[in-house]
C-alpha cells in the first residue's frame, strides 16, 4: 500500500496548496449552456477582477435549460430552509420561468434600485416574468429568441409562417426536426408558437389572466390534435444541442433553435457556416436571461457591482453583442451607440429588427405554460 499512501498524501498537499489563496471570491452560478460559463470566465470575470483588485470571480455552470435554473433554485431553497446566515451564491443567472418562483419564495434580494444601470432596461420582461411581478429583483443579461434554423443548400425557399412550415413538412417528411417538449426549451418554444398560431387567443396566453375554460376550448384541443398530426412528419431530436447537431450532420434540414446558441456555435466554427435563421409568423417566443442576487448573498455589495458592470452599455456592447452575438439585455438604444454600424448589423443578418418587433413573442404566462405542456403530454401519452 506504500505507493498509494504517498500518492494520497501528494494529492492532498496539492489540493490544499491550490485553494490556499486569501482573497474575496464572488461566486457566480449560471444556468445555460457552456457559452454562459465561457462568457464569465473569458470575458466578464477578468474584467471585473481588473476593476476590483483582490477579488476573484468563480463561475459555476449548473447545466443547460430550465434544469440548470432549477438547480440554482434548489440550492438557494436548501440554504434558506436550513437558515444559513450567508449563502454561497452571490450572483445567479437564471431563466425566466424559475424567476417568478424565486421571487415569490423570497429567495432574492430587491437589488435593482441600488445599481446605477437600473433604468437602462425598460422592456416588459424586466418587470414581469411569465406574468409574475419581478420588478426590482432582476436585470436582464441578454435577450434570447427562438427561430427556425435551416440549411439553405437543401431549403431554397424557407417557410415564413407556421402554415407554410406545415406544408413544407408534409412535402418533405422527416426533414423538419424538433426536440419535443422534454428535451429543452427550443422545442417548447416551437410548441408555444404553434399554440399562438392555431390555439385560442394568443394575446391572452401571453398576458393572462388565466382562464381554465380556455384550456378546454375547442380551439385548444383542435390545435393540439393538429400538432399530433404534424408530429408524424417530423424527426425528433435529442435536445436543443441535438437539433443543431442533426442539422450539422445533414439529418434534418430545418428545426427550431435558440438564436444565441446558433450564433455561438457558428462563431466557434462548430456549425456549418452556410446555415441560416428564419423567424416564422405569427411568431415564436423568446426570453431574457436574468441576473439575480440571492437574498442572503455573502458578497451582496460586490454582487451589485458585478451586475452593474455586466449591464453597463459598454459591457453589453463589447461582451454581449460584439463577442458573443447575443441580443442585448438592456434597451437597444443604449448599446447601439457604443458600436459601429457593421457590428450592430451583424446581429440582424437573418432576423431583422422588424421581424423581432412583430414576431418575437414572450412565453405564455405560467399557468398557460404548464397547461400547454401537460396537454401535449396527454396527447402523446395516449397514442
Amino acid at each position: 500500500m506504500k505507493p498509494a499512501q504517498i500518492l494520497l498524501a501528494g494529492v492532498f498537499a496539492a489540493a490544499l496548496a491550490s485553494t490556499a489563496q486569501a482573497q474575496t471570491t464572488l461566486n457566480v452560478a449560471t444556468a445555460g449552456d457552456q457559452n454562459m460559463v465561457d462568457y464569465i470566465n473569458d470575458y466578464l470575470g477578468p474584467l471585473f477582477e481588473k476593476q476590483n483588485p483582490g477579488t476573484k470571480v468563480r463561475a459555476l455552470g449548473t447545466g443547460p435549460g430550465d434544469a440548470g435554473s432549477q438547480k440554482i433554485f434548489e440550492r438557494l431553497d436548501a440554504q434558506a430552509k436550513s437558515n444559513a446566515p450567508a449563502w454561497d451564491v452571490d450572483v445567479a443567472v437564471v431563466h425566466e420561468k424559475i424567476t417568478g418562483k424565486l421571487v415569490t419564495d423570497k429567495l432574492l434580494a430587491n437589488y435593482r434600485s441600488g445599481i446605477q444601470t437600473a433604468n437602462l432596461a425598460t422592456r416588459d420582461s424586466s418587470k414581469a416574468a411569465l406574468g409574475t411581478p419581478v420588478d426590482g429583483y432582476v436585470m436582464p443579461m441578454f435577450h434570447s429568441q427562438t427561430a427556425i434554423a435551416y440549411n439553405p443548400d437543401i431549403v431554397k425557399n424557407p417557410p415564413s409562417t407556421y402554415d407554410e412550415l406545415v406544408d413544407w413538412a408534409k412535402k418533405n417528411p422527416k426533414q423538419f426536426g424538433y426536440n419535443g417538449i422534454k428535451g429543452g426549451m427550443s422545442g417548447v418554444s416551437f410548441v408555444m408558437g404553434w399554440m399562438y398560431a392555431y390555439g385560442p387567443d394568443a394575446k391572452k396566453l401571453q398576458n393572462g389572466p388565466f382562464d381554465a375554460e380556455l384550456t378546454k376550448s375547442k380551439a385548444w384541443n383542435y390545435a393540439m390534435a393538429n400538432l399530433k398530426e404534424f408530429n408524424k412528419n417530423v424527426t425528433f431530436t435529442p435536445g436543443n444541442a441535438g437539433t443543431l447537431d442533426m442539422l450539422n450532420r445533414g439529418e434534418i434540414a430545418m428545426g427550431p433553435v435558440w438564436v444565441d446558441m446558433f450564433y455561438s456555435w457558428k462563431a466557434e466554427g462548430r456549425l456549418n457556416p452556410s446555415m441560416k435563421l428564419k423567424l416564422v409568423g405569427p411568431g415564436m417566443p423568446g426570453q431574457p436571461m436574468y441576473y439575480v442576487v440571492p437574498a442572503k448573498a455573502a458578497q451582496s455589495d460586490l454582487a451589485k457591482k458585478f451586475v452593474a458592470l455586466a449591464t453597463s452599455p459598454e459591457v453589453q456592447a463589447e461582451g454581449i453583442v460584439k463577442r458573443f452575438s447575443w441580443y442585448p439585455g438592456i434597451d437597444a438604444k443604449h448599446v447601439q451607440a457604443k458600436l459601429d454600424g457593421a457590428t450592430w448589423q451583424k446581429l440582424f443578418t437573418d432576423v431583422t429588427p422588424d421581424d423581432l418587433a412583430t414576431k418575437g413573442k414572450s412565453f405564455p404566462v405560467g399557468p398557460y405554460f404548464d397547461a400547454i405542456l401537460e396537454s401535449y403530454e396527454r396527447q402523446t401519452a395516449t397514442n
Binding site: A67, N179, G242, A381
Partner: protein
C-alpha cells in the same frame, strides 16, 4: 465477544451512514409523493399513471433487455477468458473489454449520440466499407440507442465481476470435463456459470438498478416518446417544479428496483442456507 452482538456491531457504521445521509433526506421526498395541492392522497400516483404508464412499461422493458444482453455478453467474455485456448486472443480480449467501464454515463451518452446517428460514425463506416447503402442508413437514436449505450457501458462492469469469479474457480472440474470430451460451450453453461451465479446476479442486479436511475443517457439519446422514468422525473421538476409527481415516479422506480433486488436476495439467502447446510 457475544456472537449475536458482533454482526449488528459490524454492520452498524455502514448502515448508520446510509440511513443518516440518504434514507433520512429521502423520507422528505417520499412524504411529498403523497402530498398534492388537494391534500394527502394518491393524486400524484394517479397522475403518474395517467401520463407515464407507457413510459414505465417502456423503461422496464428496455432495461430488462439491456440487463439480459449484458448477462449474455459478460458470460461470453468471461467464458472465453477462462476457456480460450489461444493465449494471444485471450490477452487481446482481456485488454479490450474493459475500456467502456471508464467512461462516465454522460460522456457515453454524448459519444453515442454522434456515433449512432443517421450520418454518424457507425453508419459512415458501414457505408465506407460498402456493407450498407447510404439510403438504408438509419438513425439508432431511439430505444435501440439506449440499449446499445447501456450494454456498451455496463457489460465490462459485469464481465469484470464474472471473469474474476471464473478465474478463481477450481480448475480441476473443468479439466476433467474437458478430458471427457465436453464441448467448451457445455462446460461454460453447465459447469462454470452455475458456480459463478452469485457474482453474475450481483452484477446484473446492480446494473439493473444503476441503469434505472441514469438520466443523462435517455436525455441525450432518446428523442422519442415514450422515454424513461428518470427523464420524466426530470421533466416534472424542471418544467413544472412539480416534486410531487416526480417523487411518485421515484417511488414507482424504487418499488420496481427493490422487487428485482428482492428476487436476487431471496436467491442469495437460499444459496447461503444451502451452503451452510
Amino acid at each position: 465477544m457475544n456472537q449475536r452482538a458482533l454482526g449488528p456491531i459490524l454492520v452498524a457504521p455502514a448502515l448508520a451512514m446510509v440511513v443518516l445521509f440518504f434514507v433520512y433526506p429521502l423520507a422528505y421526498s417520499l412524504i411529498s409523493a403523497f402530498w398534492s395541492p388537494e391534500g394527502w392522497g394518491w393524486a400524484n400516483f394517479i397522475k403518474a399513471y395517467e401520463l407515464y404508464r407507457n413510459d414505465i412499461v417502456f423503461t422496464v422493458l428496455i432495461i430488462a433487455l439491456s440487463t439480459a444482453l449484458v448477462g449474455v455478453f459478460s458470460i461470453a467474455i468471461g467464458g472465453y477468458l477462462v476457456l480460450g485456448e489461444n493465449p494471444r486472443s485471450v490477452a487481446i480480449l482481456k485488454w479490450l473489454y474493459r475500456w467502456p467501464l471508464f467512461i462516465p454515463f454522460v460522456v457515453a451518452g454524448q459519444v453515442m449520440r454522434t456515433f449512432l446517428a443517421k450520418n454518424g460514425m457507425l453508419n459512415n463506416t458501414l457505408v465506407g466499407l460498402e456493407l450498407i447503402e447510404p439510403v438504408s442508413a438509419v438513425s439508432l437514436l431511439d430505444w435501440r440507442g439506449i440499449v446499445i449505450t447501456f450494454v456498451w457501458k455496463q457489460t465490462p462492469f459485469v464481465a469484470l465481476l464474472v471473469a474474476g469469479a471464473m478465474a478463481s474457480l477450481d480448475r480441476s472440474m473443468i479439466e476433467a470435463a474437458r478430458n471427457l470430451g465436453a464441448s467448451r460451450l457445455r462446460i461454460l453453461l453447465e459447469i462454470i456459470v452455475p458456480q459463478v451465479r452469485a457474482s453474475l446476479t450481483v452484477g446484473l442486479t446492480l446494473s439493473f438498478v444503476t441503469m434505472m436511475s441514469v438520466l443523462s443517457v435517455p436525455l441525450m439519446i432518446n428523442a422519442q416518446t415514450p422515454t424513461t422514468i428518470t427523464a420524466n422525473m426530470a421533466f416534472r421538476i424542471n418544467s413544472y417544479g412539480d416534486y410531487g409527481v416526480a417523487n411518485a415516479l421515484g417511488v414507482i422506480s424504487i418499488l420496481l428496483t427493490s422487487g428485482v433486488a428482492w428476487l436476487y436476495l431471496r436467491q442469495a439467502s437460499k444459496d447461503k442456507s444451502r451452503a451452510i447446510a
